[in-house]
């Protein structure tokens, strides 16, 4: 199973996780792992998700998450996990 990494970075505010998770649930994307911290007032979250049964294509999810990020005021990135695996694992 190939996984996707979603990162959310931006100014902390109420309901960031709720909004992102609602979108993922609506799109039938399964969250496998979440880690989140606040660094100097900045919200920093990484999710590992499984998009194999998603109701939308990778490109659509990317565009919509981008739009959602703009509404909340954070930057949301959606990347295939391989770029991280390749770079950090031999």
């Amino acid at each position: 199973m190939k996984k996707t990494i979603i990162t959310v970075i931006g100014k902390d505010t109420v309901g960031i996780i709720a909004k992102v998770c609602t979108y993922l649930a609506d799109t039938n994307i399964n969250i496998l792992d979440i880690s989140q911290t606040i660094v100097q007032d900045y919200f920093n979250m990484m999710m590992i998700v499984d998009m194999n049964n998603a109701s939308k294509t990778f490109g659509e999810v990317q565009t919509e998450l981008d739009k959602l990020g703009e509404e909340i005021g954070v930057a949301i990135k959606c990347q295939h996990e391989d770029i991280f695996n390749k770079m950090h694992r031999i």
Binding site: I5, T7, M46, F58, K77, Q79, D82, F84, K86, M87
Partner: protein, 454 residues
């Protein structure tokens, strides 16, 4: 499993330190396009390129989105045109029609450069090689995206000094033909010694005759990433310095390897090589000169520069070869002047001269690259500069190249603007003493003694 620290490190490299894949270059063999009828050659070339490369740009963009990594250029390299057109071209003008076809095909598939308007004349020139070479000024003036390269020598064959002399004149003529645009044509023309068959970087990319029908080569980059990594080890020993460069080069190259494999799979074209090069751009923070400064030089050009560059180049290779099974092309650190803000600053500050750049080319991967010189520089002097650089390559068994721009109508102290990735450059002074009698000699310089290994 991947953790947040690693994800953030990668994304910081991409967003803040200009990590990117510099180019996916699709090499296409045009050997099967040869014909005795020029029209037929042009038709076959156009058809083959537009068929094989039609998905290149779209595939590149798809990979960019999937991994969130920019792929700056999608390009094409083709078989040296001197060979492809040999049966059909009866004069330099005939070759120009092929250049125009290449330009048209490049525009059709949406690539920004197409390389391979080339001739390989390291030992001797055939009539058709000479036709192609003589057509270069007109071809580069009439086209936008075509890049030209000529191999003038190799460690095995020695230097073809007749071709070196001719290329001095051609560089000058190309500058004249494109003088309205600050002699931009010369930025698309490079001469080599020991030219690699699989180089994905322009202007020197061509698809060697030893290559398969089509192949994907990828050039990675990321001087900003190396620079940022070195900021954390200021004042540390050489061991720590080298270790840091190696680890960073490994990470950068792995991304290139991933992109290359993806592109190869998506297009159904075999993967060739990764070119592990630190290629700068004029963007702030994307500079090889800044790495040299971080290593401990006030400006590139200061005493110690050649040693620092040698160390950098070697560590980039050592880290990179671990990350990819097939490494090739030029692989190392590029030191163009106009494409690197730190190099431009060094020239303006008076720290960097052409002579020091020449010394640096003994240990880096390319050569005298993107250097603007006065338009009044004679063809013989340019040939002399080329001969020096080729000799360094021949004796040291490495690739060297020259891409100088004699800017017509401009002199030392003035600046030339090329725009985009090509950047801008201050016109640099050239040694004013003559080498005319030297380059005027006919024939070739024999291969060095250490080339006889059989």
């Amino acid at each position: 499993m991947i953790n947040m620290f690693e994800v953030n490190e990668t994304n910081k490299m991409i967003e803040q330190e200009n990590l990117d894949v510099r180019t996916i270059t699709l090499g296409i063999s045009l050997l099967d396009c040869a014909d005795s009828d020029l029209k037929e050659v042009n038709r076959k070339i156009y058809e083959k390129i537009t068929t094989l490369a039609k998905d290149l740009v779209a595939t590149g963009e798809k990979i960019e989105h999937k991994y969130g990594i920019p792929i700056v250029n999608k390009r094409i390299s083709v078989t040296p045109i001197a060979i492809v057109g040999s049966a059909a071209c009866k004069c330099p003008e005939d070759y120009v029609t092929i250049a125009e076809t290449l330009d048209k095909a490049a525009k059709e598939v949406g690539v920004n450069f197409i390389g391979g308007y080339s001739a390989l004349v390291s030992k001797g020139m055939t009539t058709y090689d000479e036709y192609l070479i003589r057509s270069i000024p007109m071809a580069l003036a009439k086209t936008e995206r075509v890049c030209s390269s000529i191999n003038l020598g190799s460690t095995k064959t020695g230097l073809n000094m007749d071709a070196v002399r001719l290329m001095g004149e051609i560089v000058k003529e190309t500058a004249e033909c494109t003088k309205e645009n600050d002699s931009l044509g010369c930025a698309k023309l490079v001469v080599f010694c020991n030219a690699p068959d699989d180089n994905p970087f322009m202007a020197g990319a061509f698809h060697g005759v030893t290559e398969a029908d089509a192949i994907i080569n990828v050039g990675v980059s990321g001087p900003g990433v190396v620079k940022t990594a070195l900021e954390k080890v200021r004042g540390e020993s050489f061991e720590v310095l080298c270790e840091t460069i190696k680890k960073t080069a490994f990470k950068i190259t792995r991304v290139g390897q991933l992109v290359a494999q993806e592109a190869s799979k998506a297009m159904g074209i075999p993967f060739g090589i990764i070119d592990l090069s630190l290629a700068p751009t004029p963007a702030v923070g994307d500079s090889v000169a800044d790495i040299l400064k971080e290593i401990g030089l006030e400006h590139p050009g200061a005493p110690g520069t050649t040693a620092a560059l040698a160390l950098l180049n070697d560590q980039v290779k050592k880290g990179g070869v671990m990350a990819s099974s097939y490494v090739g092309g030029l692989s190392g650190a590029f030191i163009p002047v106009s494409e690197d803000q730190g190099m431009i600053d060094a020239v303006v500050a008076g720290a960097l001269t052409i002579e020091k750049l020449e010394a640096m080319t003994c240990v880096c991967s390319v050569g005298l690259d993107m250097i603007a010189i006065p338009g009044s520089t004679s063809a013989a002097t340019i040939s002399g500069m080329i001969a020096d650089e080729m000799a360094i390559g021949m004796i040291n068994q490495k690739t060297t190249a020259v891409r100088v721009i004699p800017v017509i109508g401009k002199d030392v102290g003035e600046t030339v603007e090329f725009g985009g990735l090509l950047g801008y450059a201050p016109v640099m002074p050239v040694n004013r003493f003559s080498c005319e009698a030297f380059v005027g000699r006919e024939g070739r310089i024999p291969a060095p003694i250490h080339s006889f290994k059989n």
